[in-house]
């Protein structure tokens, strides 16, 4: 008989406690009076954490290695950037300045809808969702899997990158769009350096985490994890695997979409870097280091790794470069030695703690 495979790590109540503790700690940050600039930096970490959750959902649980989470993120960011830019423009001065330098004499038709903030927000949510749905249907109906999905998502991400870079009159090209004013909605202005923004970002991260956790615990979540294990078996239980894959792909895309929207609120800037390949892969690295099967791990890793990066970059430029070198090394080590990431290591170590009289067995450290 094999031993008990459940250990303290799998205690549901304990898991919820950890999440609550995490968000309480994060919520306390402004209470200890962070500088506005620091607070803005922390607000950015919340966005990174959302992206890590997004990757964790699609890859860790759905088994779909998407290297293109930057697609919904960037599309949403551009829609949001356009909305904020148009909040600044007036009927007397309808054309953003970067368009003028690109010799446009009238506002392009694709920019017209962004006059309205609510339509702008709807587009920011709707455009990425639509694109991810179409893209997902094409890929998953063809039963593409594994590395092929990774390559196709990477390719489409790249295509958007060059579009954003090259369609200068519409996207401001390499320079990106920098809306002069903070985002205003329903009469409220959201100052990027305010506590309010921090609360919004943190609240959204909490919401996204909660909904993801809910979805994972529903039967849908179990079926999705089952497709990760053995898609064919799921098909032979009468489920349409491609349908489930499209839904989880779009769901994770939606999380990245939200991240893209608040990102532009946070930094008042959007550029083609949102579509850059390395950025999308960093998201995967965060999720991998934290533990691909753990939302908690993904969030913590995203925050800690980015915190370290910022701190080291502050020391000197050499450190900043060395950090990326180190990150590559960490990533290789995690993939090779700790496929379940730090959460997996934690699970393994907790296995040594006995629960009551039951014999606890160490969790498995390897992926399979």
């Amino acid at each position: 008989m094999t031993g008990q495979t459940q250990n303290l790590y799998h205690n549901k109540a304990g898991q919820w406690l950890c999440y609550i503790a995490l968000f309480v700690v994060l919520a306390l940050v402004p209470v200890f009076g962070a500088e506005p600039f620091q607070l803005n930096v922390y607000s950015r970490y919340a966005v990174y954490a959302m992206l890590a959750v997004s990757v964790s959902m699609v890859w860790g649980f759905g088994g779909i290695l998407s290297l293109g989470q930057g697609i919904p993120y960037g599309l949403a960011a551009y829609c949001m950037g356009a909305t904020m830019q148009m909040q600044y423009q007036t009927p007397d001065d309808p054309i953003p300045s970067f368009m003028l330098t690109n010799e446009l004499t009238e506002l392009p038709a694709v920019w017209e809808p962004f006059w309205s903030t609510s339509i702008g927000l709807i587009l920011a949510l709707g455009v990425p969702t639509l694109i991810m749905t179409i893209f997902g249907i094409l890929m998953f109906q063809a039963r593409l899997a594994g590395a092929f999905v990774a390559i196709m998502t990477l390719a489409i991400l790249n295509a958007f990158y060059s579009m954003a870079q090259d369609l200068q009159p519409f996207t401001a090209g390499f320079n990106g769009i920098s809306p002069p004013n903070p985002f205003t909605a329903f009469g409220v202005t959201i100052d990027p350096y305010s506590e309010m923004l921090y609360w919004i970002n943190l609240g959204l991260l909490a919401l996204v985490t909660l909904v993801s956790k809910y979805v994972l615990q529903s039967k849908f979540g179990t079926i999705v994890q089952a497709t990760r294990d053995d898609a064919e078996r799921v098909r032979f239980l009468g489920y349409s695997v491609s349908y489930f894959q499209v839904v989880v792909f779009v769901f994770a895309g939606l999380i990245a979409t939200l991240a893209g929207i608040v990102w532009v609120m946070t930094v008042q800037y959007v550029s083609p870097t949102a579509f850059e390949t390395p950025f999308s892969i960093y998201m995967v690295i965060w999720a991998a280091v934290g533990g691909r099967h753990s939302l908690f791990g993904a969030i913590v890793a995203a925050i800690v790794l980015n915190y370290l990066q910022t701190e080291l970059a502050d020391i000197s430029e050499i450190w900043q470069k060395a950090w990326l070198l180190l990150l590559g090394g960490i990533f290789i080590a995690v993939v090779l030695l700790l496929p379940r990431g730090l959460a997996g290591l934690f699970e393994y170590l907790l296995g040594f703690i006995k629960i009551g009289r039951r014999q606890a067995a160490p969790g498995r450290i390897a992926a399979n």
Binding site: T2, Q4, T5, Q6, V215, Q217, S218, K219, F220, T222, I223, Q225, A226, R228, D229, D230, E232, R233, V234, R235, F236, L237, G238, Y239, S240, V241, Y243, F244, V247, R364, N368
Partner: protein
């Protein structure tokens, strides 16, 4: 009892070589049919063709009066055909309970499933199946930790949970010890009558224990069909299994 499954001139050919060659087979509702035959007889391929895992190159599969060839796998399953694979396929990272619950497929729509939580499934039936496959004490464990025999039973349990009208079992006792095989035959005896079963099996001891009618395949064709005693003494079958002049040639 009506006809549940009918294979008409079922054919699967690569280039010029037919793995399944104009096979005709009829399964009645409520019967337990054993499919036997030497390696390469086309047994697993036949199951693949019925369930849509491979595309047939000729003939028809008629299930419950309707042609089902050409449908996608999951649609065929929804019509009521459950399948256990030759190499047991369970979800190793999920617990035994979760494996069974995923298999309980009342509504295949992803969004409906987002609103579904476990525990509310048909409890009585769930308990019956768990009792039948004898994994009651291991529900909380990851399926990856089960022994080989237990994995086979779990997969049988999963297929039963689907409550299909026709169960296709590909080598349910492969890799089992004698005791495990015995327990499996107990499971099958209990299923007999209540379900329609097609069992592909090599283990003749097991076939002897459960069989009603046996169909022997050879080189993609139906070689013989009938009850055990008739098959045992069929010279064609003996030749396939032992070669010509197998017995009392030297003696």
């Amino acid at each position: 009892m009506g006809v549940l499954l009918e294979l008409k001139d079922l054919t699967k050919a690569y280039d010029t070589y037919a793995v399944v060659d104009r096979l005709n087979l009829t399964i009645n509702e409520g019967e337990l049919r054993c499919l036997i035959g030497p390696n390469g007889a086309g047994k697993t391929t036949t199951m693949d063709l019925i369930t849509g895992r491979q595309k047939l190159t000729g003939g028809k599969v008629i299930f419950d009066g309707r042609e089902i060839n050409g449908l996608k796998e999951n649609k065929i399953v929804r019509r009521g055909i459950g399948r256990k694979f030759q190499v047991p396929a369970v979800f190793k990272d999920l617990s035994v309970r979760e494996n069974l619950e995923v298999a309980f497929n009342r509504n295949p729509d992803p969004f409906a499933n987002m609103l579904m939580f476990f525990r509310r499934t048909d409890k009585q039936r769930f308990d019956e199946i768990v009792e039948l496959i004898g994994l009651g004490e291991r529900l909380g464990e990851k399926a990856g930790f089960l022994s080989h025999g237990e994995t086979q039973w779990l997969e049988i349990g999963m297929v039963l949970t689907q409550n299909p009208r026709l169960l296709l079992m590909d080598e349910p006792t492969a890799g089992m010890t004698e005791q495990e095989t015995l327990k499996t035959s107990e499971i099958f005896k209990r299923l007999k009558g209540a379900h329609t079963l097609v069992v592909v099996e090599h283990d003749m001891t097991f076939v002897r224990q459960i069989a009603e009618t046996i169909s022997v395949l050879h080189l993609g064709k139906l070689l013989a069909e009938g009850p055990m005693h008739q098959i045992e003494n069929d010279p064609k079958v003996r030749e396939v299994y032992l070669g010509a002049e197998g017995i009392s040639d030297a003696a």
